[in-house]
């Protein structure tokens, strides 16, 4: 039986323009594709990854334009569509003025106080 993995994404927008994605969200897409039983928890500033309608387009230096900017809301949404449980810390969203209606479909809120019980349900916690 495979190990249950909870991947906590907390550091947000680190290298996302250079990478054209978030490397940890990307990694979890790959792990899911490889058969891992993985869930994702967005915490701290990373709750913003679930805010729909983000637009990072327009980066250009000289004559070179970025044509495939990161679309983190899409990457969160497609994770959920693939059956990955994507949670976010509701308290962190509230502190940042983010409403449930602002978020892509498929993400689930969890209170900070409920995290110990959540974490206890996993074999491995990857805190990125």
């Amino acid at each position: 039986m495979s190990k249950k993995i909870l991947s906590i994404v907390e550091t947000a927008y680190r290298g996302t323009l250079e990478e054209q994605d978030d490397t940890v969200l990307w990694l979890n897409h790959v792990l899911n594709g490889a058969g891992a039983e993985v869930s994702v928890l967005l915490q701290g500033n990373a709750v913003n990854y679930a805010v729909k309608g983000q637009d990072a387009s327009g980066l250009a230096f000289g004559g070179r334009q970025q044509t495939q900017p990161p679309k983190l809301d899409r990457d969160v949404s497609t994770l959920a569509q693939k059956g990955v449980s994507v949670l976010f810390v509701e308290d962190d969203a509230t502190e940042r003025g983010i409403l449930l209606a602002d978020l892509v479909e498929g993400v689930e809120p969890i209170r900070r106080a409920a995290l110990p019980r959540l974490l206890a349900g996993y074999d491995q916690i990857f805190h990125w």
Binding site: L31, G35, F126
Partner: protein, 137 residues
């Protein structure tokens, strides 16, 4: 006699940026000293840690030439840990994420490390007693 433990470390920091890389090597080295087999999945900038073209240099401020400065590059520390693991009969399997390597142009890695993918991380996790992620912040 207890069964040998296997630990996996996933690291992401590039060399010379902060103390996390050194901390990771301390933990990896100590785990080997204490009889564990160790897997390392180097992701993002950490794939540059074992880059073979790292070179020592003289240090004018210290008034020492390169030989006197005797400054081990990260690849040298990793080579030393690999050698220590081999000498102790322990396994140290160091995998660099291949796409991260390509992005950074650091494909020339020291012997004893290898190219891989996140699928290797999953195999490591499944086969390990525990896994520690040491992320970039």
């Amino acid at each position: 006699m207890s069964q040998r433990k296997t630990l996996t470390f996933s690291i992401t920091d590039p060399p010379y940026e902060d103390a996390r890389s050194t901390t990771a090597l301390r933990l990896i080295s100590l785990a080997i000293e204490r009889g564990c087999d160790v897997n390392v999945f180097a992701y993002e900038g950490a794939v540059a840690l074992p880059f073979a073209k790292q070179a020592p240099h003289a240090n004018a401020v210290h008034q020492r030439d390169a030989a006197e400065e005797n400054h081990p590059n990260p690849k040298d520390w990793i080579a030393a840990v690999l050698a220590d693991a081999a000498q102790r009969g322990r396994k140290l399997d160091w995998v660099n994420c291949g796409l991260c390597v390509d992005e950074r142009g650091v494909s020339e890695s020291i012997p004893g490390t290898r190219r891989g993918s996140p699928a290797d991380l999953l195999k490591f996790v499944e086969a390990s007693d525990n896994t520690l992620v040491i992320p970039t912040k």
